[in-house]
Structure formats: C-alpha cells, structure tokens
Amino acid sequence: AQTVTQSQPEMSVQEAETVTLSCTYDTSESDYYLFWYKQPPSRQMILVIRQEAYKQQNATENRFSVNFQKAAKSFSLKISDSQLGDAAMYFCAYRISGGSNYKLTFGKGTLLTVNP
C-alpha cells in the first residue's frame, strides 16, 4: 500500500525568508502524481503544485517549487519569499496514474507559521 510521510509536524519561517517542507512516500508504482495542498483555517484544501513522476523537471508555480527525487521517493516543497498568507497546514499527497480509483493518499500535514 502507498504511504506518504511528512516528518515535520510544525515549521516556522520569517516573512520574506525561504522554507522547505519535506515529504517522502512509498510506492512500487513507476507512474504516479504528487501534489502539495494548502489548508488555511477556512478548511478548504487548495492545490499548490503538482508533479508528474515521469517528468524529470521539477514543477514550479511562482514562489512555490518542488524538489522531486524519484529514486529517493522524496518530494519537498520550497516556499520562497514567504508571506503571512502562506501560514497554513500543508499536505503532501500521492496518486497512481492508472487503475480504476484515483483517490489521493495524504500525509499527516505540516503546520507552517510565518513570523512577521
């Protein structure tokens, strides 16, 4: 069974600084997708960035980028120039690319605090 591990329950960063959130996963599949979601106090999960396993190039979305290491099964999220609005719970998630059920498997999350 696929598992997703986020080893940092909490992280903090100073405004305008850079922070990296860690995620590792376990799978025997070769083709899959990885996601980072943000959950602010409003509870709504917001997609931050996604990565397709067959693409070697790391995904980037403005201030958010990932370091995808397929052999190491690692998928970290880097937030540059942190802003107060980045404070939230961040979840790493995995999904296989084939099969009949496209459910996401989530890690337990990392609570990010941004200090002014």
Binding site: Y37, S42, R43, M45, L47, N101, K103, L104
Partner: protein, 115 residues
C-alpha cells in the same frame, strides 16, 4: 456552481442520532470523493463516485456510513447512530475527470461534533 459547496458548515449532534452531510460538486465534474479529517490527522479516504459507475466504498469505516450521489451531481454522506469517534471534518472534492494529473477541488467541509 463556482466551487464545491458543502452543507452544513458545522453540525453538532447527540450520540446515537443520524446525520446527513451534503456535497454539491462543480458542474460538469464527473468524479466525487469524500474524505474524513480527524484532529491532527491527514485526510482519510471514504468513498469515490465516478459518473454512473458503482461507487468505490472501500474506505467507509463501518456499515453505519453510507453515501449516494443522485443524478451524477449532488452527494449525501449519511452516518447512522453517530459515535463520538465520528467527530471530524468531512471534506468533499470533485474533479473534472478521474484520470490525468488533475488535482481535486475541495469544499470547505462539514465539521461534525458528536456529544
């Protein structure tokens, strides 16, 4: 609609009562998921609907939990004889199709408290 809508936003119920949680997905989204988020935990998959296919109920924790999706749109998650361990946030998500690198669009969830 513009987003995934869930109601009620919060629900407090007495142990042993039945509750119904509603999810209205984005129009045209064929896949719909229910997840449960317990305090301090990640999201736990409950059930998945794809078009007119039989739902995948493999994540439902007990036979007290059931869900239906009418007309390929609105879904209702029903919990019978609620227990205190059912207290959690129940999140619904939809996606335009089941395959591909599409992330889900989530609703804001229903916080269920069983007292």
């Amino acid at each position: 609609g513009a987003g995934v809508s869930q109601s009620p936003s919060n629900k407090v119920t007495e142990k042993g009562k039945d509750v119904e949680l509603r999810c209205d997905p984005i129009s045209g989204h064929t896949a719909l998921y229910w997840y449960r988020q317990s305090l301090g935990q990640g999201l736990e998959f409950l059930i998945y609907f794809q078009g007119n296919s039989a739902p995948d109920k493999s994540g439902l924790p007990s036979d007290r939990f059931s869900a239906e999706r009418t007309g390929g749109s609105v879904s209702t998650l029903t919990i019978q004889r609620t227990q205190q361990e059912d207290s959690a946030v129940y999140l619904c998500a939809s996606t335009i199709q089941a395959g591909g690198a599409y992330g889900y669009t989530f609703g804001s969830g229903t916080r269920l408290t069983v007292v």
